[in-house]
Amino acid sequence: MNRRIALRHLALISGGLIMIPSCDFSKEDILAAYQNLNITQSQKNLLAAVSDTIIPAGEIKGALDLEVADFILVMVNDCFTKENQGKFSTGLAAFPEYVKSTAGKNFDALSAKEKEGIILSGAKLEGDDTEEGKKNGAISYFLNSAKRFTIQGYMASEYIQTEVIPYSLIPGEYNGAVLITDLQKPRVNG
């Protein structure tokens, strides 16, 4: 944990990226903060764009504003098995090509509606044992994991839990028979 915070701080000071130098200079460098994953900055940017499509900004901040992409990568890096880390990384790496072949454009160039559509369809891809099938399975695994962690990282963020739906450490005395009709709360408009 300390190592990652140190790396983040260093990244801030150096104005962006900390790279592990790679021998192949034609390739983009790997982000060192997620040491179990081979993730580049442009992949992280893509993940951030995916998370922001899943929960966009509106009257209330969205996933991009809350840097949920970092949370997703921390969880995948620290809490996934090696095998699932591999599937996630493979899916993330294969996603741009899937977008291009399906929509004919890069993810960034799509409209908000098109972005939603491609994530929904990608999340439903079914895998099999063929090369293509493995890739499809990984894409859907990546997108479903990204959605799950986007929701978790967003809802359990400081912003949501202090400014939108305040979390209480003291929940109050138990009431075991509350009429649901007595609980009408003003609707939060995202």
Partner: protein, 569 residues
């Protein structure tokens, strides 16, 4: 130098030594100190001071890097502790990791430990149901283990004594199998739990009960706990982090600070007990040899009376490793029974379901307890093809959830406005009595040692046919009760978990009437070394079905008063 040693021996001499600072050890120390006995309490782990050393207690969900989850690398390295329900990011620092104190599993056994001042009293589930004579008379009636040398009347006033100080919330339910105690106001069951309790009364002619579980929380009235610096439970349900309010009983919030305030307690953390010293000439135990956890240096402390409360399995280890010419097989082990007849609670099975009724209701706030089924099997007479029976936990819950389908603004608005109530969920888990057997034992490994040069324990404990039958019966009976109550979508599980994960391991140093068939007498003294008392789970002759901690507290208090009375003779 010789003089220095003499002086230092004097400095290291007390009237009593208590080994272990968990629930039973802290109760022994508190009672001894209240009675004016200069007491040394030895704890193998680090100090944890109430209020000061609860680093996560007020942390908010988003302050946990993994939102509570244990990272995969830690789980991979520590598979045993990772199976414990409470081993989460917020309380990880209060559990012993597999790598920190290895042991040999001749058969799979999940040994869950908390090595710090306060031990597992910081982590326990705080359920405190009394035993009755249906429990104490079990072995004699059903012909297993040996007869308990005590009965309910011997322990009744000590239950009251510890309940008043620890703080126990509950209702006076008037049930034969679960005597009422000194209760603070109880926690009401919720509307579906009450419905289920009524259904049971109707369907089973008053033979089966489901009540609000008695729990060691201060509820309704905190006045009598002000002197301990404790106040009302705030329903935070974050107990495993350590409670800044002292809302539930822990050694850290209650008995240890109380004992320290008497001026009679010396606390020695970071002291791993190697053995109890036996003086062949005097024919009694004279002290305790420890290894400093950090420096690995050996040190000795001396006292007239020694309380061994290291938690069931480690209490066995200390006695097994306390060898002398007189006791080559472990202190007080003339019978050869030490380490044998270990038992536990069978938590393997659970039944869950849904309920369509009471759909206009939900719940609000928090509570630290839920429902409890006292044992109803084989109580008044033997009625099944297995011995004894099981208690069970029960709870019903319903809360607003978000619909997390979809994507974009629709998803966002759904998440921010949780309004999906669904049906009530109900669930139960069994807590079965297991029969102590000679073949379920702990012993010292002949070659492997731990970091402090102490032999590693090997543990050989398993289920038997009686347990299998009981699992089956619990699943059948609970399913039937759920069906009769109109619950739907009933799901049953038998997770085949290893023994130990119940964290109710008991025995190995059992009480009894006869030194040939037991280790301890009716006062918790080793038959052969009466100035050594064992009042933790190791002393249990049988396990019954109730969560055992309250009984250990009562045992410790009772034995401490006995020791003081003996010293005045």
């Amino acid at each position: 130098m010789a003089n220095l040693n003499l002086k230092s021996k004097q400095d290291r001499t007390y009237q009593a030594i208590v080994i272990g600072s968990g629930i039973s050890g802290s109760w022994a120390a508190k009672e001894l100190c209240d009675l004016g006995v200069k007491t040394l309490m030895i704890e193998r782990g680090r100090n944890v001071e109430h209020g000061k050393d609860y680093p996560t207690t007020n942390m908010l969900p988003y302050e946990f890097e993994h939102r509570g989850q244990i990272p995969q690398a830690i789980q991979d390295e520590n598979p045993v502790i990772s199976r414990c329900y409470a081993f989460r990011e917020d309380a990880m620092h209060f559990f012993v990791k597999d790598t920190e104190h290895p042991y040999v599993q001749e058969k799979p056994f999940d040994w869950i430990r908390g090595y710090q001042v306060g031990g597992k009293s910081l982590l326990w589930a705080r359920q405190v149901q009394r035993w009755s004579d249906f429990d104490f008379e079990g072995p004699a009636r059903d012909g297993f283990a040996v007869d308990w040398p005590i009965r309910y009347k011997d322990i009744e006033k000590w239950y009251s004594h510890v309940e008043k100080f620890a703080g126990v919330s509950g209702f006076r339910d008037g049930i034969d199998t679960l005597p009422d105690g000194e209760f603070l106001p109880g926690y009401e069951l919720n509307v579906v739990e009450k419905y289920f309790a009524e259904q049971l009364k109707k369907q089973y002619g008053g033979d089966r009960h489901m009540i609000s579980a008695r729990c060691a929380h201060i509820h309704g009235n905190a006045e009598q706990f002000a002197a301990q610096g404790r106040t009302l439970c705030q329903n935070r349900q974050l107990c495993q982090r350590g409670c800044p309010f002292g809302g539930y009983f822990s050694s850290n919030s209650s008995t240890i600070p109380w004992a320290l305030k008497t001026g009679n307690l010396t606390l020695r953390p970071d002291a791993v007990v190697h053995s109890i010293i036996y003086d062949e000439e005097k024919g009694k135990a004279t002290g305790v040899r420890i290894v400093d956890r950090l420096t690995k240096e050996t040190e000795e402390f001396y006292a007239d009376v020694i309380f061994l409360n290291a938690a069931a399995i480690n209490t066995n280890l200390v006695l097994l490793n306390s060898t002398s010419t007189r006791f080559p097989n472990g202190l007080g082990n003339d019978s050869g029974l030490l380490g044998k007849y270990v038992a536990f609670h069978n938590y393997r099975a659970g039944v869950s379901a849904q309920y369509e009724g009471h759909s206009e209701y939900t719940t609000s706030g928090g509570r630290p307890t839920s429902g409890y089924f006292p044992r109803f099997r084989n109580v008044y007479k033997q009625e099944t093809d297995f011995l004894r029976g099981y208690a069970a936990g029960f709870s019903a819950s319903r809360g607003a959830r978000s619909n997390s389908d979809g994507i974009g603004m629709e998803l966002k608005n759904n998440l921010l406005n949780p309004d999906q109530y669904g049906l009530w969920s109900v669930g139960s888990h069994m807590m079965g009595e297991t029969i102590p057997k000679e073949s379920n034992y702990v012993a010292l490994d002949p070659s492997l040692k731990d970091e402090w040069g102490i032999p590693q324990l090997k543990i050989s404990v398993d289920y038997d046919d009686n347990d299998e039958k009981m699992v089956k019966d619990y699943i059948e009976q609970m399913s039937e009760m759920f069906t009769k109550a109109g619950f739907i979508n009933i799901q049953t599980r038998d997770d085949h978990r290893a023994p130990g994960l119940d964290i109710h391991e008991m025995g190995g140093v059992r009480m009894g009437r006869d030194p040939k068939t037991s280790m301890l007498n009716a006062n918790h003294q080793l038959h052969a070394v009466p100035n050594v008392y064992v009042t933790d789970g190791a002393s249990m002759t049988s396990t019954s079905t109730q969560n055992p901690s309250l009984t250990y507290m009562a045992f410790a208090a009772r034995a401490a008063h006995h020791a003081v009375a003996e010293s005045k003779k």
